[in-house]
């Protein structure tokens, strides 16, 4: 289990390769990457991500442990950035490995669902019109009920 909360950028491809290459006996690797996307009409200049140092790491560890106990996994990687990010930058990634593909897929979706609404991160969008905190979506809360 490798969990990192950091301000610095990370290299998605290198992390994905390193993760996949240390999975002896695992036949399936799934990754998810979240990217800062532009907003169309109100052009996004930056996204600021705030987090709760201390609780963030604990929350991510708990989510990863829950996933490990529910599915037959080789390993889990979570990297989540905070601070100021710009469009096209990668916010975070998760990677899961398993013998068969269903476990890796399910675990990655589970990690993302909980990371989205149960890990203490908050996003603020800075556009030319000002700054707005991103509001949590009902559908993200609803996504938790499927697990």
């Amino acid at each position: 289990m490798d969990i990192r909360v950091q301000e610095a950028a990370f290299d998605f491809g290198s992390e994905a390769n390193a993760f996949a290459s240390r999975q002896a006996g695992m036949g399936a690797v799934v990754t998810f990457t979240g990217i800062v996307r532009d907003l169309g009409t109100a052009s996004l200049s930056a996204m600021e991500i705030e987090h709760y140092p201390g609780m963030t790491e604990k929350a991510l560890e708990k989510i990863a442990k829950d996933a490990s106990s529910r599915w037959n996994l080789g390993d889990i990687l979570i990297i989540h950035r905070y601070g100021r990010l710009h469009p096209q930058e990668m916010i975070m990634m998760v990677a899961t490995a398993s013998r068969h593909r269903a476990d890796a897929f399910q675990a990655a979706e589970f990690l993302m669902d909980f990371l989205k609404s149960r890990a203490p991160f908050w996003k603020k969008e800075l556009t030319r019109d000002g700054a707005d905190w991103v509001e949590a979506k009902d559908e993200d809360e609803a996504a938790l009920t499927r697990w």
Partner: protein
Amino acid sequence: MDVLYFAWVRERVGRAKDRVDTNPATVMDLIEDLRAREPRYQAAFADLSALRVAVDQELADFNASLKTAREVAFFPPMTGG
């Protein structure tokens, strides 16, 4: 006891952290104490349905006991990922 604020709760309160020396029994009691301080706390705690709370870095309910709590944090619903 340390009380932390994040995201727009922090912005409305105007600071990231308070030190509270009273001994509120529950989160709700703590909120009442804070609301009694200044209007900006009233603004921050106006709509509790828009707030989440963590006690000692674990998500909790508003009626959670603060008996052994060292750190309470208030923030809006999380938006990670």
